[in-house]
């Protein structure tokens, strides 16, 4: 026993492994796990204001009760914000996924042989590199009222005889936020899709070609079913990103007009960092949002994986 331990000591470098992964776990514990636990705890307290962030009393589920009680002040604001977030996420995600899929299948289609692919991929991906806050400011000045590039353009081409106040229109405000999200993230989704499609065994496409499949058939019958895991991944990351949407609405509209572009993350921000600093309510709302995201993600997984099951059992049966 003693000799084997000694022997192991001379050849074992395993402790270095722990040292190398330690930085991640230390930062994770301090900057992620601890804040998460702290948020859960704060959501159960009466922590209003910085003075009470550390010295507060546990008051149970009162904050959660308010979030789910339709007669409370925050009820309408929180669920209204969730509704806004879902609407803006939907109009961002559907066109984003659609276009990303089309582009990805074009870029990977051996029959199409698109030229200058590198250029197009970079160009489409480019908006993703710019900080969201910068883009928010950019669009805010582009659509400024009463004088701004878009208004000047519309008037000089006689498309409108009065300056349009875009950010007082619900449709324009939400539409612009959805558009920016779509425009920024389309390239990213496309790259992920291309990676997914490239991972499919080319023999399948060749076989389809030999069997006389059209491009459309190949896409619907081969590509789409085989990149389903990638689709699920994309849907879930987009759901998480979409429900925590903050920077663009915050920079561009501040939730206006009349709270129609207020998102859940902005609700949490205004509760926690303006007014009387209601950290308890902000934490409770974060916990509820956390729950909604988990439920949403599980739902997507469940719905999209459902069709696999009979296929699996068929295979088993065949064996």
């Amino acid at each position: 026993m003693a000799s084997s331990q000694k022997k192991r000591k001379t050849v074992s470098y395993s402790h270095w492994g722990y040292i190398f992964i330690a930085p991640f776990f230390i930062t994770f514990l301090i900057f992620q796990l601890y804040p998460i636990i702290f948020t859960f705890r704060t959501s159960l307290t009466d922590a209003v204001g910085w003075e009470k962030i550390l010295n507060n009393n546990i008051i149970g589920f009162e904050n959660f009760r308010q979030l789910f009680d339709s007669s409370s002040l925050v009820y309408g604001k929180f669920w209204g914000a969730l509704g806004n977030t879902m609407i803006m996420w939907f109009f961002n995600f559907v066109p984003q996924l659609g276009l990303a899929l089309i582009l990805a299948s074009w870029f990977t289609d051996s029959r199409m042989h698109l030229r200058a692919q590198g250029f197009f991929k970079v160009t489409i991906f480019m908006p993703n590199i710019i900080t969201a806050a910068t883009i928010g400011m950019l669009f805010m000045s582009l659509f400024a009222y009463p004088i701004g590039p878009v208004n000047t353009f519309l008037q000089s081409f006689s498309l409108s005889n009065m300056p349009i106040e875009f950010f007082r229109s619900v449709a324009w405000s939400r539409g612009l936020i959805s558009f920016i999200q779509w425009w920024m993230w389309c390239g990213n989704t496309m790259i992920v899709m291309i990676a997914g499609i490239s991972g499919i065994n080319p023999a399948l496409f060749e076989a389809a070609l030999v069997d006389g499949c059209s491009s459309r058939q190949t896409f619907w019958k081969i590509t789409l079913p085989l990149i389903k895991p990638i689709l699920v991944y994309n849907l879930i990351t987009s759901l998480v990103g979409g429900l925590t949407m903050f920077d663009i609405p915050h920079m561009m509209t501040q939730g206006n007009p009349n709270e129609t572009t207020n998102t859940v993350a902005r609700f949490i921000y205004t509760q926690g960092f303006t007014g009387s600093r209601n950290f308890n309510m902000a934490s409770a709302a974060s916990v509820v949002l956390f729950g909604i995201i988990i439920i949403g993600s599980l739902l997507i997984r469940f719905v999209l994986n459902d069709h696999d099951k009979p296929a699996k059992s068929e295979r088993k049966g065949a064996k």
């Binding site: 402790h15 040292i19 209003v48 204001g49 910085w50 003075e51 962030i53 550390l54 002040l73 925050v74 309408g76 604001k77 000045s141 400024a144 009222y145 009463p146 004088i147 701004g148 106040e165 007082r168 501040q254 939730g255 206006n256 007009p257 009349n258 205004t270 509760q271 960092f273 303006t274 007014g275 009387s276 209601n278 309510m281």
Partner: protein
């Protein structure tokens, strides 16, 4: 494992020594926190050379994204007496009330300020630096009274006004202000507008109230605020303003004269740091004023601006110096004296303030110093066609009512704009609906006050 442990220990030691090495022997150490390098610059230029006994450590955090307040809150909330915590820290108008109402800031009298000394500050700035009980906790080196700035050429062309005195009669209160706006519209056939938008008027008009937003823990909607709504709605509906926001492209275009706009409501800093650099698109801030004037020639609006008191005396902005109560309580007499001397020098020391006003053109916080500057012949300003801005600012500073400010002003002002002013003036909702939604929003945002 031992090696790792010893390495960690050695590192801690080295780091520990490094932080102690900065405190020099025999010197009084002060930690000063601020959100710009303005105070640091002034201390290093004017104060440290005469005070070799001081060892001042500066910490600067920007106010962007609440970085500064978060830093201060975290440290004062958890460990106010620690070495790294500030002895003196600066407070901006947006959050000064929050801190002077808290127990974190100390009474300036505990470090040796006397009533006599405190009495020489402008009342508006002193009031803002007091808590509800009237304890003086902050002092400002500037005061930031606001006035009405107008373009003399437009006033003469459309209204026949040739002097600031005549102009003041045209804007002496908000009713005449509105009449003048209508007159201007008629005379200029709609080309020249009275103001850029409602945001400008708000900064001045809120000082028209007799009570602030929160009185005895209750939300107060002063009747003057409803009059404000009617005023800006009329301006919007009768097309008397450019309908733009403050700090927007339109706002600056008006300053350059590209859009004819008669009035701006701006405070002291707005004259030197906002209006002047934007009076022409050719203005280059890296050059001196003389070089700029030569370069821009006839372009823009340099020299065309004049100041009048306007309908109401108000204040906009300012920076206060406050002390950390926890550290002041444990400081020895020498350190208390040093803290007193530093704050006194930059807020109330007449000799220094007169000198500083000459060097910088800033409007200082001591009424006594301003009197001296005016007695010395004032400050004729070529940007204002030779008018003396100090005289106008002095009367506004003496009249503005600083007791209106509360710690929740920032939040409530923006809620008022989002829930009442904007939807009401644009005709989207009626006033009662707006007020109800505003009250709900305030009650949801500030749970520590009563909303009825």
């Amino acid at each position: 494992m031992k090696k790792v442990l010893s390495l960690v220990l050695a590192l801690t030691l080295v780091l520990g020594c490094m932080s102690f090495a900065s405190a020099e022997e025999g010197k009084i150490k002060l930690v000063v926190w601020s959100f710009t390098n303005e105070l640091q610059g002034m201390i290093e230029k004017y104060y440290l050379p005469q005070h070799p006994e001081l060892d001042i450590e500066f910490q600067i955090y920007p106010t962007d994204g609440n970085a500064y307040t978060t830093k201060v809150d975290n440290l004062l909330g958890a460990n106010a007496a620690s070495d790294e915590a500030p002895d003196i820290f600066t407070l901006e108008a947006a959050f000064v009330k929050h801190y002077v109402e808290s127990d974190w800031t100390g009474d300036l009298k505990t470090i040796g300020f006397t009533d006599e000394e405190l009495g020489t500050a402008f009342p508006v700035m002193a009031q803002i630096g007091q808590n509800a009980a009237g304890v003086q906790k902050g002092l400002s080196w500037q005061s930031t009274p606001g006035v009405l700035m107008y373009r003399a050429s437009l006033a003469e062309k459309y209204l026949g006004v040739t002097s600031p005195e005549e102009m003041q009669e045209k804007v002496q209160d908000w009713d005449t202000f509105l009449e003048t706006a209508e007159e201007l519209k008629e005379a200029s056939e709609g080309a020249c507008k009275m103001v850029i938008g409602s945001g400008d008027i708000w900064n001045a008009y809120q000082y028209q109230r007799s009570e602030g937003w929160v009185v005895d823990g209750k939300l107060v909607i002063d009747d003057e605020l409803l009059d404000f709504e009617e005023l800006v709605k009329t301006l919007e509906e009768d097309d008397l303003s450019h309908k733009g926001g403050s700090w927007s492209e339109v706002w600056f275009a008006g300053m350059r004269g590209e859009l004819e706009t008669l009035c701006y409501f701006l405070p002291t800093w707005g004259l030197h740091y906002t209006l002047k650099p934007h009076c022409s698109s050719l203005w280059d801030e890296s050059k001196t004023e003389e070089e700029n004037v030569a370069a821009i020639g006839d372009d823009g609006t340099y020299g065309d601006w004049r100041l009048v008191d306007g309908p109401v005396a108000y204040s906009w902005g300012g920076t206060w110096m406050g002390i950390n109560a926890a550290k002041a309580a444990t400081a020895d007499d020498a350190k208390k004296q040093a803290m007193h001397d530093l704050i006194y020098n930059f807020s109330l020391n007449e000799d220094w303030l007169v000198q500083y006003a000459q060097d910088s053109g800033d409007f200082v916080g001591s009424a006594k110093a301003v009197e001296t500057i005016l007695a010395n012949g004032g400050t004729p300003n070529p940007f204002l066609g030779g008018q003396d801005h100090y005289a106008i600012f002095a009367s506004a500073a003496a009249l503005a009512n600083g007791s209106l400010m509360s710690e929740y002003d920032d939040t409530i002002n923006s809620l008022w704009s989002d829930y009442v002013t904007t939807p009401y003036t644009k005709g989207e909702k009626d006033l009662d609906t707006c007020l109800e939604e505003f009250k709900t929003a305030v009650a949801a945002a500030i749970t520590t006050i009563t909303v009825e």
